[in-house]
Symmetry: C2
């Protein structure tokens, strides 16, 4: 174990200050890392501690360089080696290998795969994947996901969502609009629009008419800055949080999904803290759900999610994860989530 002072969270992408991935200030070269991974993969059990010690302490771009170096040195993709291990290992290790594969993938490719797996399913935990990828990502990341999805699956995300027999109207209409968006990503806000649209949303909530075209249009086309101003205006007008009001007044599936979209767009830490809690409190643990959240948010806003989790559930993510998962898989999640302050 390296001394703590060797680790420092460095700027990666997006809100890197909120990353919990502890990258050493002087990491080995990508080729050295690839060689260490090759050694760690030898033998029937593989050296999970080494795999975690390397990959879970590297940024997305460092992991990309390691993938390239590995393919160059050993003439096979690193991910294929992981998939081979996954296919041959006993049940206890499945979650570990699945998480390691998702973490090692290019983030846009990972999300494209998660969306593809989710798009034909009815279950809300899969519908949430569509909402998370379309609303809790930056617009440019969503666009990268859409691009690679087309290349991997020979059709567009919006095409698959719009033609999915598993999804019903009016939810389908909202999901198609959300995954099709390419929002303005700057800070410019129009306060007149915020006032008008806060009132429109308020009327729809009070009349329990969330599926109105206006609601879907506002949520799926306005920029995150604009929506933040609109929701703030709503709070000033009513003294309550719009997400909580949607939840409280409209208990339909559409209402729950709309609330998730609202949170993913403007306070994703609330959404993801709730999903982590749900995945741990569930009968057993929803490992896929827990993996998805931790792998996809570790480099984005995991620090905020941990703070939100603590404030809301009076417990720590690390504590709850450690108590509810098994060796190997647990160590990997804990490496990504980082220590509690």
């Amino acid at each position: 174990m390296l001394a703590a002072h060797l680790f420092t969270t460095i700027a990666v992408e997006g809100s890197a200050a909120m990353s919990t991935v502890a990258v050493p200030s002087l990491p080995p070269t990508a080729s050295e890392d690839a060689e260490s991974l090759r050694k760690a993969l030898q033998g029937w059990r593989a050296d999970k501690a080494s795999l975690i010690g390397i990959l879970c302490r590297r940024t997305a771009s460092q992991r990309a360089a390691i993938r390239r170096a590995y393919a160059f040195l050993y003439r096979e993709p690193l991910l294929n080696c992981f998939r081979y291990k996954l296919s041959r290992h006993h049940l206890l290790s499945v979650d570990f290998w699945k998480a390691l594969i998702l973490w090692t993938m290019d983030p846009a490719e990972r999300d494209a795969n998660l969306v593809h797996e989710a798009v034909k399913k009815k279950d809300e935990i899969y519908i949430l994947v569509l909402i998370e990828v379309s609303c809790a990502s930056t617009p440019d990341h969503l666009m990268a996901v859409r691009d690679i999805y087309r290349k991997l699956f020979s059709c567009s995300i919006e095409e698959d969502v719009a033609s999915s027999p598993a999804l019903q109207e009016p939810l389908k209409k909202m999901l198609v609009s959300l995954v099709s968006s390419y929002r303005y990503a700057g800070e410019h806000v129009d306060m007149d629009v915020a006032k008008l649209e806060a009132a429109q949303l308020s009327e729809a909530i009070r009349e329990k008419q969330l599926q109105r075209d206006e609601v879907v249009r506002i949520i799926s086309t306005r920029s995150k800055s604009q929506l933040r101003a609109t929701f703030q205006q709503y709070k000033e007008d009513h003294g309550t949080d719009i997400g909580e009001d949607i939840n409280g007044q409209c208990s339909s599936q559409f209402g729950r999904m709309l609330k998730s979209a609202v949170w993913c767009l403007t306070s994703p830490e609330k959404h993801f803290a709730q999903v982590i809690r749900y995945s741990i409190l569930g009968l057993g643990t929803y490992e896929d759900l827990l993996t998805r959240v931790i792998v996809s948010r570790a480099e984005i806003d995991m620090k905020q999610i941990k703070q939100e989790y603590k404030a809301r559930y009076k417990s720590a993510v690390t504590l709850d994860v450690a108590g509810d998962t098994s060796f190997g898989y647990r160590d990997m999640l804990l490496a990504l989530v980082g220590s509690e302050d």
Copy 2:
């Protein structure tokens, strides 16, 4: 005038074999071109023949290099010099300078500007801009237009279309879906889907129910290859062209715009030949319309458009353009359209 053998149409972007821009096989460097342009811009009248002789014989990437070289050499953007000329010249030259500015711009930026100008207007010739940019472009070009639009105008295209008071439902719904699409761009086709959706479209046409969700979903999410197969299936089932049938059976504005979308998606030459004809036959000439089509299609499929025009109207684009436009502007359009074979 340089000898014809010096000109050869070289590969640019998209379907470059259908470009009518005659690029010299050994063009001057970008800096030399920038110097020649500087000289041509001197004096009150400017040397239009030189401006045309240089810029209308360069590909989009060569024009980009010239813009960079000009800005580096003279510390001002080439386009600003053109805009200054436009602002000071008498009426006769307005069309020339406007066309030269559009041609010299980066194509994605040009389309973003055209969309922005069109989006708040009711007139069909402006609604057509939205359809042309969203349906007659490659998916990646549309994405580049959406990206630059956000940067230039601090909001997204779909946001402006969805909130435009000039557009009515159900047309607005279709336009929002069209501009939001990021279609699969490959050749993969599902023939079962083609058969099913040809039947769905046929039913909507016969029942004069074009605004159905199914119709908008098919037109706005399916890939161009898939739509080509679907429309071919329609032709085999009914012996008629789906575009003509939409036009014949449903004479509403929605029907006309849907037909334009269908043509832009799978046989853009038909659409643009018709628009050129309309712009010339109109009272006077719709110069903005004519400029837009020629400038935006010269490097894409102008050869095909000319063939279609000849087959359909028993006249040549060059002849009709020459007969209906004035000096300077005419020379520029003719340089872009190329000679008749």
